[in-house]
Amino acid sequence: MNKFASTDEQTAGDQIVAIPTLVRKLPEPLRRIVGDLSNTERTLVGLQLRLAKQEK
C-alpha cells in the first residue's frame, strides 16, 4: 500500500504513524515529512532545504 513502510517492524522502528511519511535521517536533526508532499513549500521547509522565515 505504501512504499515507505513496507514491513511491520519498520513502522515501529522508524516511529511511523502517518502514511505517507518521508523521514530525513541525515543530516541531524531527524525530520518527518508527513503527507502527500502536495504542498511543495512546506516540503522544502520540512526537509530544511529552505528556511521557514522565507516562506512568508
Binding site: 515501529a12 504513524v17 502514511i19 518527518r32
Partner: protein, 588 residues
C-alpha cells in the same frame, strides 16, 4: 482461555464482558468491560488512568489468559516497565512470555512537517502487528490524544480515530482508550463521541488536604451499572475500587449469641451476650473503660478459638498489651497464637478511603470473626463527619455481610450530649453500651448501661463497674435516695447491709436457742405429768384391790356365818375353797 470466558459469563447474555481483575471494578460494572468493544477511561493528569489500563492488561494476561497490547503515546516502554514494577507487575517477563506486546508511539511536533493529505495507516499497521504477534484480546491506547498535539490536521485525525475505533471493534479486541478530561466535556477532544460503549471517569480530589481518588461509570451501553462515585486507591497491589454496593441490607441475621467476655454484662444483655455478626457501639467519656471492655471481648473471642482483628487508632499494640495486662487480661498469648492481630495506625495518616480499603484488605486476609475498632471517632479527624459516616456505614455493612461481629468504641467529649456519638452511627449499630462517669460525694465512678440492644431483652439498670486485677467487674446494684449508689457510697451501703445481716442472723440464732430450751422444758413437764398420772393409777389400782379383798373377806364372813347358822346351801358363786370347806360339813 475460553474456559475463563465461560466462567465469567455475564448475567446479560446479550453483552459479553471481559473481567478486569481489578478489585471492585468488576463488581460495579457487573462483570467487567464490554468484550470486543472500546472503553474510554478519562480523567485529569495523575488520576491513575495509565495504571488502570495497565492493570487491565496485566490481569488479563496473567489471570484470564488474554494477551494484550499496550500502545503508549506518552511514556516509553522502559519508563512504563519501571513505573509498574513497584506494583509487582513484571512487564519484561510478560513480554518474553508473549503475553504482552508494548509499543511506544512517539509523535513529536518539532520533527513533523505536514505537507498535504495523509492518513494514520502507520498506526494501524503497528497495532495490527502487535496484536497479531501475541494474539492479543486486549488493547490499551494510552492517551491517544497525544496525536492531537503532534499533528495539526484535526479533520484528518478525527476521521482516522473514528476509523481506528471501528477497526478495533471489527478486530474483536477489548480496548481501553485513555484520555485527558477537558473543560466541560468528558475528554479534551470529545472522543466520547466515537467511543460510546463504556465511559469511565477517574477523578482525583483534595478535600481538607486529604486526597481521594474516585471512579465513576458515566455510561455503559447495554448493561445496568452503578452510577455512584466510588473511591479507589492505588497501593502495592494495584488499584482497588471500593464498591458502595456493599451498602446493602441483605445480610442474614444470626441468632447465635456470643459472650462479651464479662459474665455480668452478658447477664445484662438478656443473659447471653451479643448477637453474632451484630455491631456493638460503646461510647463513653475519656477514661471510662472502653478499651478494657473491648479487650475483654477480644480475649473472649480468642478463647473461643476465633480470630480477632483489633484496629487501634490511638494506642500502639504494645501499649494496649501492657495496659490490659495491668487489669489481668493477657492478650499477648493470643497474639502469639496468631488469633489476635493488631493493626495500629494513626487516623490522620491516610484518607478515609485508604482506611476503609486497609480494613477491607486486612479483613479479607485475616478472616476474623470479631473486629474491634478503637476508637472510630478519631476517623472524623481525617474527613468530614459526613464522609466518616458514609465510610462507617459502608464498613458496618461490609462486616455484617461477612458475618463479623464488630465492636466500635467512640469517645464522647464532655461538652456533647452523652447519647450523641462523635460519628452518628447510633442508628446503624445493634447494641449500644454507654459508659459514663458518675460524680458523687467527691468521687468519680464508672457506670455503664445498655442504651439499646436490638432483638433481646436487656437490662435497663445503671451498673457500676470496677477495673480490678481480674479485669472489669460489674458491681451489685444499690439504690439510694439519689439513684444508684456508687463508689464509697455503695461500699458504705454494702457494709451497712452486711452489719444488718449479721445482726439479723444473731437474732435468729438467739430465738432458735430459746425455742430449744422451751421445748426441753415442755418435754420435762410432759414427763412429770405422766409420772403423776402413773402415780394416780397406782393409787387407784391399790384401792380397787383393797376393795376386792374386802368384799371377799365379807363374803367369807357371810358364808361362815351361814354355815354356823346351818342355813342355806352355799351360794352358787361361792368360793371353791368355801365349797370344799362346806362339803365335809354336809356329809357330816
Amino acid at each position: 482461555m475460553s474456559k475463563t470466558v465461560d466462567h465469567q459469563a455475564p448475567v446479560n447474555p446479550g453483552l459479553a464482558k471481559a473481567p478486569t481483575g481489578i478489585q471492585g471494578l468488576d463488581e460495579i460494572t457487573g462483570g467487567g468491560l464490554p468484550r470486543g468493544r472500546p472503553t474510554l477511561v478519562c480523567g485529569s493528569a495523575g488520576c491513575g488512568k495509565t495504571l488502570l489500563a495497565m492493570e487491565f492488561l496485566v490481569r488479563g494476561a496473567t489471570q484470564f489468559g488474554e494477551p494484550g497490547v499496550f500502545m503508549s503515546f506518552e511514556e516509553t516502554t522502559q519508563e512504563l516497565t519501571q513505573n509498574v514494577r513497584s506494583l509487582g507487575f513484571d512487564l519484561d517477563d510478560l513480554v518474553q512470555q508473549k503475553k504482552l506486546a508494548m509499543d511506544f508511539v512517539r509523535v513529536e511536533r518539532n520533527e513533523i512537517e505536514e505537507t498535504g493529505e495523509y492518513d494514520l495507516e502507520g498506526l494501524f499497521v503497528r497495532l495490527n502487528f502487535a496484536i497479531d504477534s501475541v494474539g492479543a484480546k486486549r488493547v490499551v491506547l494510552d492517551t491517544i490524544e497525544a496525536l492531537f498535539s503532534g499533528l495539526s490536521n484535526i479533520a484528518i485525525l478525527r476521521g482516522e480515530l473514528r476509523r481506528l475505533f471501528r477497526w478495533l471493534k471489527d478486530k474483536g479486541v477489548t480496548a481501553v482508550i485513555t484520555c485527558e478530561s477537558g473543560e466541560g466535556t468528558l475528554t479534551k477532544h470529545s472522543l466520547e463521541e466515537y467511543v460510546s460503549d463504556c465511559v469511565i471517569v477517574l477523578d482525583h480530589r483534595v478535600t481538607d488536604q486529604m486526597s481521594t481518588r474516585r471512579l465513576r461509570i458515566v455510561k455503559y451501553r447495554g448493561t445496568s451499572h452503578e452510577t455512584n462515585e466510588y473511591p479507589f486507591l492505588i497501593d502495592e497491589d494495584g488499584i482497588s475500587v471500593l464498591p458502595v454496593t456493599s451498602l446493602g441490607l441483605q445480610h442474614t441475621a444470626s441468632a447465635e449469641r456470643i459472650s462479651s467476655g464479662i459474665p455480668r454484662l452478658d447477664a445484662m444483655l438478656g443473659g447471653e451476650g451479643y448477637f453474632r455478626s451484630s455491631t456493638v457501639l460503646m461510647s463513653g467519656t475519656a477514661g471510662s473503660g472502653k478499651t478494657s471492655i473491648a479487650a475483654h471481648f477480644a480475649a473472649a473471642a480468642c478463647q473461643r478459638g476465633e480470630r480477632c482483628l483489633y484496629f487501634a487508632f490511638e494506642e500502639s499494640p504494645g501499649q494496649i498489651l501492657r495496659n490490659m495486662r495491668s487489669i489481668g487480661i493477657d492478650l499477648e498469648q493470643w497474639v502469639d497464637k496468631g488469633l489476635l492481630h493488631f493493626h495500629a495506625s494513626r487516623a490522620a495518616i491516610h484518607g478515609l478511603e485508604m482506611h476503609l480499603a486497609t480494613i477491607h484488605k486486612l479483613v479479607r486476609e485475616f478472616q476474623p470473626r470479631v473486629v474491634i475498632m478503637d476508637p472510630v471517632g478519631s476517623l472524623t479527624s481525617v474527613g468530614t463527619r459526613q464522609d466518616a459516616n458514609v465510610m462507617l456505614t459502608r464498613l458496618i455493612d461490609f462486616l455484617k455481610m461477612q458475618g463479623i461481629t464488630a465492636l466500635l468504641t467512640s469517645l464522647t467529649s464532655g461538652d456533647e450530649a452523652l447519647e450523641q456519638t462523635v460519628v452518628n452511627v447510633s442508628t446503624l449499630v445493634d447494641t449500644w453500651l454507654l459508659l459514663r462517669d458518675l460524680e458523687l460525694d467527691g468521687e468519680r465512678n464508672r457506670v455503664m448501661y445498655v442504651l439499646k440492644s436490638r432483638g433481646m431483652a436487656h437490662s435497663n439498670q445503671l451498673r457500676e463497674f470496677l477495673l480490678t486485677d481480674q479485669g472489669v467487674e460489674l458491681q451489685n446494684v444499690y439504690l439510694g435516695a439519689e439513684g444508684v449508689l456508687t463508689g464509697s457510697a455503695r461500699q458504705t451501703r454494702e457494709a451497712m447491709e452486711k452489719a444488718a445481716r449479721l445482726l439479723r442472723h444473731q437474732e435468729v440464732e438467739a430465738k432458735q436457742r430459746e425455742r430449744v430450751l422451751k421445748r426441753e422444758a415442755q418435754e420435762a413437764r410432759i414427763i412429770a405429768l405422766q409420772k403423776e398420772f402413773e402415780a394416780e393409777e397406782e393409787v387407784a389400782k391399790r384401792d380397787s384391790d383393797q376393795e376386792r379383798s374386802r368384799e371377799e373377806t365379807n363374803r367369807q364372813d357371810r358364808d361362815r356365818m351361814g354355815i354356823s347358822r346351818q342355813g342355806d346351801k352355799v351360794l352358787k358363786d361361792a368360793e371353791p375353797s368355801a365349797r370344799s370347806h362346806q362339803t365335809p360339813r354336809v356329809r357330816a
